[in-house]
Chain length 130, copies 2
């Protein structure tokens, strides 16, 4: 079972801690919004926690990846307020089966803007900087 | 060889027509910028043609997908002006081996904005509407 499978299962079970436990200590996270990568389980966990509260009606609808491969793509649909979002979690696992790279992309731009606005509101204007 | 493999090979060979020839007549395209899908080989070919002129230093750097699967993800890096972009072509093929769904996502938002601006400039303000 890939790290992506296990992450998806944790999200679908609503078990946020189990998801964060799959992140390597030095995980690198590239956000759909900001250019500079974030690094480390603590800050990445905080960001994923915020997003999990912001996204409404979140569901994965497609998983792309070969069995045994290090890279998997989890395509999702969600909503922020009245803005529909289609996005993807790109999950790379290391030799220990932990997630060492986590990249998120979303479309369209109205959705990305709504997500950025909601992140600022969630962190009261001070979103963690990379 | 998947439609994604063949599309990637066409792009890497600079053979734009070979890429467009892989699109099904009724292909659906969901853009990183606008919400509403585009449909049909003609308009989608025009959009891909514009993007191929706008993206600089374009290269695919990762391919995700199981052999024989209908869905593949081609992760790319590129640049619009001085804005770096990481993005992904999500390619779904039909039973005839043609691309019937083509979804593009990009990150970060500065890159998506630069792409949207460049598309407007390319089409002189009248980007095809879905």
């Amino acid at each position: 079972m890939s790290a992506a499978d296990r992450f998806r299962a944790a999200v679908e079970a609503g078990d946020f801690d189990a998801g964060v436990a799959l992140l390597a200590d030095d995980v690198v996270f590239r956000s759909p919004v900001v250019h500079k990568p974030y690094q480390g389980r603590e800050v990445v966990g905080a960001l994923l926690g915020a997003v999990s509260q912001i996204f409404e009606d979140f569901r994965y609808d497609r998983q792309i990846g070969a069995p045994g491969a290090a890279d998997h793509a989890l395509v999702f649909r969600t909503r922020v307020g009245d803005r529909e979002i289609e996005g993807c979690d790109f999950i790379h696992e290391n030799e220990d089966g932990l997630i060492d790279e986590f990249v998120v992309m979303v479309r369209p731009m109205t959705g990305a803007n709504a997500l950025a606005d909601a992140m600022r509101a969630h962190f009261e204007g001070s979103v963690p900087t990379p």
